[in-house]
């Protein structure tokens, strides 16, 4: 049961999200998205946003009203942005799941956008990343940005604190759970199953939920025996996945 972000206020959020890679590091964000709209609709649609203390230093991903995709590091001065700008020529199809990944490496000065495991665009520049540990928004973005609307269904949101190998990225795009792919680098995993409030983060603190609706989940291959226990079922939600040396424990 994936999350539907249908209204402007629908979002998953967290103040001071933990373990965000510091400047100089690298990371990767992976999620599944099924839009309720098609490319070329000339409407803002946002997917995630991480804010620094200075509002204009951000990491974000959106399909803007000019029908371009903007993904990457947004700075105080737009001329200094380290973001990918890509014309959205049919990349979104209403009612169709797709897998998206954004990967960055500050030291190597590169950020890359992937859809369904294939590289869409890459920016190589003097990449400067920020400590975006102030606020995390998934789905619709900051309440201060009222014009944006996600208008779609999202699932399996995973954030890594390092870059992944080509094979690992391919595994995510094939539908393997982030819990099965490079779990030693996974710092946030929100299955976005749809009924949990607060949203389970299987690797850290829960997220605040402002989403009313849910829908069918994409096909995901989970670890054997992996069953999410919503808080409503009693017991306070699923246990966190931990890794000790090379052994996964709950």
């Amino acid at each position: 049961m994936a999350r539907i972000f249908a209204n402007a206020a629908d979002r998953i959020s967290k103040a001071s999200p933990e373990d965000f890679p510091a400047a100089g590091g690298g990371g990767l964000i992976s999620f599944w998205f099924k839009p309720g709209w098609n490319s070329g609709d000339s409407v803002d649609h946002n997917f995630f946003l991480y804010e620094a203390n200075t509002l204009n230093d951000r990491l974000g991903f959106q399909k803007f009203s000019d029908n371009n995709i903007y993904c990457g590091w947004l700075k105080v001065s737009p001329t200094d942005d380290d973001r990918i700008v890509l014309a959205d020529t049919g990349l979104f199809t209403s009612g169709t799941w797709a897998h998206w990944m954004f990967e960055w490496n500050d030291a190597a000065n590169v950020c890359t956008l992937y859809k369904d495991g294939s590289q869409l665009s890459q920016r190589t520049s003097a990449l400067v990343t920020y400590n975006v540990s102030s606020n995390e928004y998934i789905g619709n973005t900051s309440p201060s940005i009222s014009s944006s609307s996600c208008m779609g269904t999202m699932a399996e949101y995973g954030r890594y604190d390092s870059n992944l190998g080509a094979g690992e990225k391919a595994s995510l795009a094939l539908g393997f759970s982030p819990a099965l792919v490079a779990p030693f680098s996974l710092v946030e995993y929100l299955p976005l199953i749809g009924r949990n409030d607060p949203e389970n983060n299987l690797l850290g603190s829960s997220r605040t939920v402002a989403v009313a609706a849910y829908a069918d989940h994409p096909r995901i291959f989970n670890p054997i025996g992996f069953q999410l226990a919503p808080a409503s079922a009693g017991g306070g939600g699923s246990p966190a996945i931990r890794r000790r040396n090379q052994v996964l424990v709950f």
């Binding site: 094979g167 391919a170 595994s171 099965l180 490079a182 670890p223 090379q246 996964l248 424990v249």
Partner: protein
């Protein structure tokens, strides 16, 4: 439990991917498989508990695999056991690996089953009934323990542990 009975089964989704040199999850006709590289040793690790009715004999590990593209050649496999009893989780302590080769089927989608025996005792890291353990499966792609001349990936589909 008598000789010849199955003690445990593992599939690709049981794999606890190691920090480095891990086999890669893949799909073949919607079946999860673990891809093992032909040019560098790669590893999969499975966690289990030896059943209480284990009879105390040796075990045989059956690796069910197919080639991604090859229709000939030998693929070299290694298996090693680590008993968790008395072991600090912060360290690794796999017993020495045993190995065997298997020949790719003439149709690359048809499985080959390669068996590797471990005698009770040191080869099983002194694992006893009721004990938690890890099984490490390695494709010995660089041929340290024997010939591996199969081209392309080997796709591990399932693992069975049987009492010998």
């Amino acid at each position: 439990m008598a000789s010849g009975d199955t003690l445990a089964c593992f599939t690709p989704q049981h794999n606890q991917q190691p920090n480095a040199s891990g086999a890669t999850l893949d799909l073949r006709n919607n079946r999860p498989v673990l891809d093992f590289d032909p040019s560098a040793d790669e590893v999969a690790v499975f966690l289990g508990v030896l059943p209480r009715n284990y009879g105390g004999g040796g075990i045989t590990i059956y690796l069910h695999w197919a080639a991604t593209s090859a229709t000939s050649g030998s693929c070299r496999w290694q298996t090693a056991i680590e008993a968790l009893s008395g072991l600090d989780l912060d360290g690794d302590s796999f017993a020495s690996a045993n190995s065997a080769g298997g020949t790719a089927n003439g149709t690359n989608g048809i499985e080959t089953v390669t068996s590797i025996a471990h005698a009770d005792g040191a080869e099983m890291d002194s694992l006893a009934a009721g004990g938690a353990f890890r099984l490490k499966v390695t494709r010995d792609a660089d041929g340290t323990s024997g010939t591996d001349d199969m081209t392309g990936d080997a796709e591990l589909v399932a693992v069975e542990i049987k009492e010998t």
